[in-house]
Amino acid sequence: MAKPKRPTPKPARKAPPSKKQKPAARQAVKQPPRPKKAPKAAAKQAAKKTAPKRPADPFGEKALTQVFTELLRRAATSIPPDVLVALEKAREREEPGSVARDTFDVLIENTRLAKQDSRPICQDTGMPFFEVAIPRGISIGAIERAAVEATRQATKTGFLRPNSVDTLTNKNPGDGAGRGMPIVHVHEGKGKGLSVQLILKGGGSENVGTQSALPNVDLGADRDIDGVKKVVLEAIFNAQGKGCAPGVIGFCFGGDRANGYNEAKKQLFRKLDDTNPDPTIAAMEAELLEKGNLLGIGPMGYGGKTTLLGVKGSYLARLPACYFVSVTYMCWATRRAAVEVLPSGKTVYSQ
């Protein structure tokens, strides 16, 4: 396991006072296991004072703030292994000495340096999107607050860029948080633990996402699978290299406009080498990946054999009158990370 070179961020300055929170139960939470050298005696004493039976509340705001901060750090600084493999394979496909191959060399070297020094892979550390599955009876408010506070802390320590702009005043508050930022979705999961998936999605790639309605006369795209594929391929063509190709495409057909985009984005949590359990969608994904790469746009749009690292799709029910196709583009720097927090407080990170 890679350990951060720089000191792990200090625990939160006092979280914004939340009246609903019960101080005794929530605040003297045992430190999660990462920052190893917490003075043991002190920690023990604190635990003794406040939590007679249950050692700590691993799902409380304070504990989760630390876990989420570490999750943000990992996502920002270390590329998931499947993405790295995809980059390496893409490199092999390009001609020796070509600009495309040299570009892949730089991308791969960049991920190595980022991990080695625990620094952001890309300076645009993007919009954090947390998808959290919780066990029954856990406070959703605590999770939302923890995600915001973790975003602030990771920004303060330089793992995230101060990336939130108040759209009304055009001012950047400097702490990474704002209205609707980070994005936090919480739903009830099946397990006893709490599991979090996170992506950091940069602005350059977000800008080339599209949503269109079928039929589309120009493309000869009807309201069917073939029509969906045409529209997705057009989005890939229109993106050219602008979303920092080679990208990963998430698409969704059906749904209303809002949920369509959301479902498309959720596809980015998937591993590049997974197989869609629905054979129809799996075939669409494979075909679009192949055709997208035939376009020859290449890394950065310089021209080359790899324009996409992956295509992941899904669908939702729709109204009879609507047929939306939502496409989201994730840059080559596909930053995602996950963590499972067990009731014991143990945390299992993965990418």
Binding site: N110, C122, G204, I297
Partner: protein, 201 residues
Amino acid sequence: MSAVKKLTTPLTPKAVRDLRKGDAVEITGTIVTGRDALHKLWIKGWPEYPDLTLRGSVLYHCGPVVRKEKDGWSMLAAGPTTSIREEPYEASVIAHYGFAGIIGKGGMGPKTLAALKEYGAVYLHAIGGAAQVLARKIVRVQGVRHLEEIGVPEAMWILEVKDFPCLVTMDSHGESLHEEVKKSSRAIFDELIGKKKAGAA
């Protein structure tokens, strides 16, 4: 790939005209960053910077991650940002300040391409997302302007770079690699979706 061309800022008009689409270059010298908010601020009032040599210098579309140190600043991550957003302003910016190079990603439009030709400048593509590789080419942060007004990512950072790698994708002779790739991929796209010249079919 042909050999890498070494460039030192400020660039001479001849050095710029010698560059062609597809050339790999490495830049050494002083460059400045500027993106959305700075472009807006510039065209509003054209602030002057008597202590800086902007003519012949290079503008970098970049919003870095920066850390304040005891004795200055350090660049933690500094890759390019998408350039096309500056398309409405860049031609005037080149005309006013005399930049000889624009570093960014994704390329720019016809208005900028025309300005490159008219004023003798090039568009240099840096690798998007390569924030660590590129940050290491920045040897010193010489200063910063407008930090209070527009914040860290948007401020005008004055950087000393060494061997900063880029690809000339738009030259001063009206050639654009982005246009070329768009054209060739358009033909393939049309064929793939069964539009017009399906030729073989």
